[in-house]
């Protein structure tokens, strides 16, 4: 079964004889390899240009900011590999944030708030899956409608934002606190630990379990998957629910960082996440993409934005540079496909 877009080229005899040549080929011929090279080059450049970049504080601020995008992008990778999409994750940031903050204010209990957030995620995921699979409507359309509906629901709960009235210390810690100290490196923030744990969990699920293999099979060829006994609708439903639940978790971290649930949170977030997933090598045609690629793409986009701020460049360039990186990545991908004759 094919996993990564470019791993389907057989190594040449010379490369088999020389493992180093194989590694070099991985670095320069696969999406993950290229992203890694570019990311390292960018980090070296920024470390040279700005003394602040490589500091413990900056690196962890950078990673904390990216953790929410990374968490949602992990779910989105599964969904895109399974040949579906979710445009409602941006609106979820507003809806879940508002609802969870209200639940926290009402119960003054961290786990109750978290449970409400995750249940809201399950609910939206099931609605997305039900409409897509039972009514047989394209998921692009279903989640586009949900993009509107979920944002509307966020407005029904509050006119602007829900403030933190419960003053739970554990709540603030989730977004801004530190989990533990790594000797020689520094204090690691909670959002980074959560994102890393989720990445590890899903890396195992996607690569080592029947479910993971089924996700690739469903996206690569749904008909063949169905005929070989895979329950396509069940797999896709799980992918929808996972994406929504992870979006809800990201929203929970977001309200902890902002200390309020705002109904205008997450405008354009869905396209940022999808942009990162596709930059990481996933294909909208399904069946292709890796979590490593997605993670590297999220890191690259986040580092670029961080660099723009550190170098004192007008922060408005962030948006343009993000777009340019996506265009260049798609261009490189198109050229590589052509040179491989996969046109």
């Amino acid at each position: 079964m094919e996993r990564a877009p470019a791993l389907d080229i057989e190594p040449t005899a010379r490369e088999r004889a020389n493992p180093l040549a194989g590694a070099v080929r991985w670095l320069f011929r696969t999406q993950e390899g290229i992203l890694l090279v570019v990311l390292i080059a960018l980090c070296l450049l920024l470390a040279r240009l700005s003394p602040v970049f490589a500091s413990e504080r900056n690196i962890f601020v950078l990673l904390s900011q990216m953790s929410m995008t990374a968490i949602v992008a992990i779910g989105m990778t599964l969904l895109i590999v399974a040949r579906e999409i979710d445009l409602s994750v941006g609106s979820m940031q507003a809806f879940v944030g508002v609802v969870a903050m209200q639940a926290l204010n009402a119960t003054e209990h961290l786990l109750a708030g978290l449970a409400v957030a995750l249940l809201a995620g399950v609910a939206v995921g099931l609605v997305n899956a039900g409409l897509t699979l039972k009514l047989k409507i394209n998921s692009f359309i279903v989640t586009l409608a949900m993009f509107s509906i979920v944002r509307g629901l966020a407005y029904t709960f509050t006119a602007a934002s829900v403030q933190n009235h419960h003053k739970l210390e554990s709540f603030r810690a989730i977004g801004t606190g530190f989990a533990f100290t790594l000797p020689g490196i520094g204090r690691v923030p909670w959002p980074v630990v959560i994102a890393a744990a989720i990445f590890a969990l899903f890396a195992v699920i996607l690569n080592k379990t029947t479910f993971g293999r089924a996700v690739y099979a469903v996206g690569g060829n749904p008909r063949a998957a169905e005929l070989s006994g895979i329950r396509v609708d069940l797999i896709k439903t799980l992918c929808f629910v996972i994406t929504s639940v992870l979006a809800a978790l990201a929203a929970f971290i977001l309200i902890s960082r902002m200390n309020s649930g705002q109904n205008n949170a997450g405008f354009g977030f869905e396209l940022q996440v999808i942009g990162a997933v596709l930059l990481g090598g996933a294909s909208l045609a399904g069946g292709q993409g890796t979590l490593l690629g997605t993670l590297l793409a999220v890191l690259l986009l986040g580092t670029l934005n961080n660099g723009i701020v550190l170098l004192g460049i007008n922060s408005s360039w962030q948006v343009a540079v993000n777009g340019l990186v996506i265009v260049i990545a798609v261009l490189l991908d198109a050229r590589r496909r052509r040179s491989l004759g996969q046109d």
Binding site: F147, S148, G323, L324
Partner: protein, 343 residues
Amino acid sequence: MAAVQGQPGMRAPARVGGWRRALLPVVRHEELLLLLLFLAVVAFFMVVEPSARSTTAYLNLLRDISPNLIAGVGLTLLLLSGEFDLSIGSMLAFSGVATVSVFNATDSMWLGILAGLLTGPLVGAVNGYLVCVQGMNSLMTTLGMMFVLRGIVYVWTNKTPVVDENKFTAFTAFYQSDVLGVPAPGLIALALIALGHVMLTRTEFGRNIYAIGGNPTAARVSGIAVNRNKFLLFVLSGTTAAIAGVLVASQTGTGYFDAGVQGFELVVIASAVLGGVSLNGGEGTLVGSMLGVLTLGMTGKGLRLMNVHITQQLVVTGIVMLIAVYLHGVRKRLLIESRSWEE
């Protein structure tokens, strides 16, 4: 059908209830279904809201949604060929800001409008080059271009609205003016729709669009210059978006850096899909798509007349969209079934 029944050797017709036969015209003609849907929405608001009973409300509706109609013309033709353009929301800001900036730089209204309109073919050609010549995925490419253009506008304007220093009253008066009782921007929209409809239904170019969208390989084999036609469609989509952008700027004589930022591209795509355009290309009509824009526009307008909060507006818009898309699916199934009614 009676004649068929009398012929020897024919299978006896399935017994079909009268209500199903009454549905036949709707099943056969998609536009009729959409017109009925639109009229149902209008009738609903006429019953519940007295101010929706005046003619001016509908003329104002035409004025309000003229940018969506105009940008929808180019986008619909592109969607029919099986490609996407997500950059039209950013185009709205880009062309508007270009128009007013050139006003201020040259003190000439016509040069400004010309500059604003020219941004359309320019950006369209870039999109077209990347997709048709470089072979890049259009959803990804125009997603990237969406960020690139928005970023350029942010940097250019420093996130402040560009105000027309010359106060060209002719520019703002045009948007508010009526010709023979019809709003001038609406007339431009109607003219472009008529032009697009004739092009789509009466010319070789139009037939090629359906052929390309339906089956690109077959189109190529039968001698259609697929890439050249698609390139033209990208230029067209950029151009209609630029016209819409200049109109938005003329509402108040201001170039807004955030015009279209709340998902203009997604709303126009949603309208086209509501109007029966398939995202896979090759299926749908321009008239249907425009009825889709009107239906969504009327839903929003009616709710605003009723002073319904934006909350429910978003929710209702999403639900109307889902109902419409579901009805298209039902219609398609009935269409297939209806063939057996006549046997």
